[in-house]
Symmetry: C2
Subunit: 307 residues, 2 copies
């Protein structure tokens, strides 16, 4: 089958490569540890060569932190509202040292907050390509180190917000008095739910006004020291949901579509249930779908097919 | 003049010693770097001996982290509501290796949240001793690494809340993506106020939902990288005030009395003005007054006076 496109999902810590046929099906995929913060000797060109090694010389489209200020080449953000056509029109083309052309997807900027994303815009396009209903009117949640809440309307990203939930969890458990000198963490689903409920019940003050309770409950002896991380996880994910409701991103009447899978998303599902929020998993493999969809809109998929 | 009492304010990072006359006036004070986390070789007994060196063998009363789990001897918390008499009744006496008796002030616990404090209870007693009006009905703010909001009624601490504002500022500026790779900080009063206003205007979602703006504004070029720390300081102090209002600790109709002085308290005053909150500095030297007041209520000041 002919190779039509190579797509790269190139973030801070990961580099994934996809080889597509003429219908956009992924023929082969690779995962490398060469995120832009963990490049091999030789830097970007060597990582690029490894990711595409032995694949035909077809157009290459990359999204993610590779286009950031610390990436291979900085690509300006595109302001919302933005749909796939504007993204496709705004690709930046660069020439690699070995003469290949690499097209870079811009990140998005919400000028209203302001807020920025890089890489998630391609996941979002992937969701929209697979779920026309969500594209017409939907709210997406992309949990992570920097969670994103995204508003979609008529196939356009109308706005988004970043919540630093995952990073805050790391800071509090690794560097704060709440996490200092704890024994190894033990899974404690009860402590997690207790944290979620503390956040839910914190009202407009918010869970940050209650976060010191992690220490107090431990001193009280009612929260085992080994359960503090799960309690904090519940408190922070719960506060993210509380904030999302307060800010109008989510409500109990409508459905939130969550992009991602695995233990972190399971936590969000569990926490959402404590708020009475309906959260549904969005389709999988969103980035590879998004890369194809953007490349297609940019006319990169029709002209260069090789055997 | 006769020495009647020695008071120790013994926290995590500091150790201050006061020698009092029979009327409660401080005749002499000492400051040592021997907080419980920075003890000299020989530990607590050596630090104690240095703090009281050459002073008469009179009763010694200490408050602060010296009575914590990691202190010299753990003293159980006393639940709120608590006034000076209950504190005085709950002192723990311990004998030092050289045969002195050391009385330890218990910390307070608010069972409703739950929340705890150690050392601040003595500052609060000091404020109440000097400001009967505030003791009758007042709200105290003690800014710091762990800020405390305290509710007073008829000479009794009725409840309190800890906000980890100072520690969060340290975590975000030293360890997070917002503070990573910044140039040296430059004083920027405008950036501070901008952060306060961002927090004030964040509504029930809260400033944590907007904290990523520190990075976005910097990428936009509208916030100098060297001003990010002042912006974050404003955002977090502003969020503390926002939370305090949302939780009912403060409102625009009544006055908050702030314990402390210096640049940090100046920031709180400036931020409070952006919220229309009336914050007034409480009397100084609150801990030394509080130690005397508690010792007096416990009957430690009348019997042991020596020349």
């Amino acid at each position: 089958m002919s190779t039509t496109l190579i797509g790269l999902d190139w973030g801070s810590t990961h580099l994934r490569a996809y080889r597509y046929d003429a219908q956009g099906a992924v023929l082969e995929k690779r995962a490398l540890a060469h995120g832009i913060r963990h490049l091999p000797e030789g830097g970007f060109p060597v990582a690029f060569a490894q990711a595409t090694d032995g694949w035909p010389d077809v157009p290459v489209l990359a999204c993610g932190m590779v286009g950031s200020r610390n990436g291979w080449q900085e690509v300006p953000y595109l302001d919302t509202p933005t749909g796939v056509d504007r993204l496709a029109d705004a690709l930046t083309a660069m020439t690699t040292p070995d003469g290949r052309t690499l097209h870079l997807v811009p990140g998005l900027r919400d000028p209203g907050r302001p807020d920025v994303m890089r890489g998630e815009e391609t996941q979002i396009v992937g969701v929209m390509a697979q779920s026309p209903d969500v594209a017409r009117k939907g709210t997406l949640l992309l949990p992570g180190t920097h969670s994103k809440w995204v508003s979609l309307r008529d196939g356009v990203v109308t706005g988004f917000a970043t919540m630093m939930t995952g990073e805050l969890f790391g800071l509090l458990t690794q560097h704060s008095i709440l996490g200092a000198q704890l024994p190894p963490a033990v899974d404690d689903a009860h402590a997690f739910v207790r944290g979620v409920d503390m956040a839910r019940d914190s009202g407009a003050a918010g869970a940050l006004s209650r976060v010191f309770s992690a220490r107090t409950l431990m001193l009280d002896g009612t929260l085992p020291a080994s359960s503090v991380p799960d309690y904090l996880s519940g408190l922070l994910i719960g506060d993210e949901l509380r904030m999302a409701i307060a800010a109008g991103w989510a409500d109990v009447q409508s459905q939130v579509h969550m992009v991602g899978e695995g233990p972190l998303c399971d936590r969000y599902l569990q926490a959402a249930a404590r708020f009475g929020l309906a959260v549904q998993a969005a389709p999988d493999a969103t980035t590879s779908h998004g890369l194809w969809r953007i490349a297609d809109a940019a006319g990169l998929t029709s002209t260069h097919a090789t055997a």
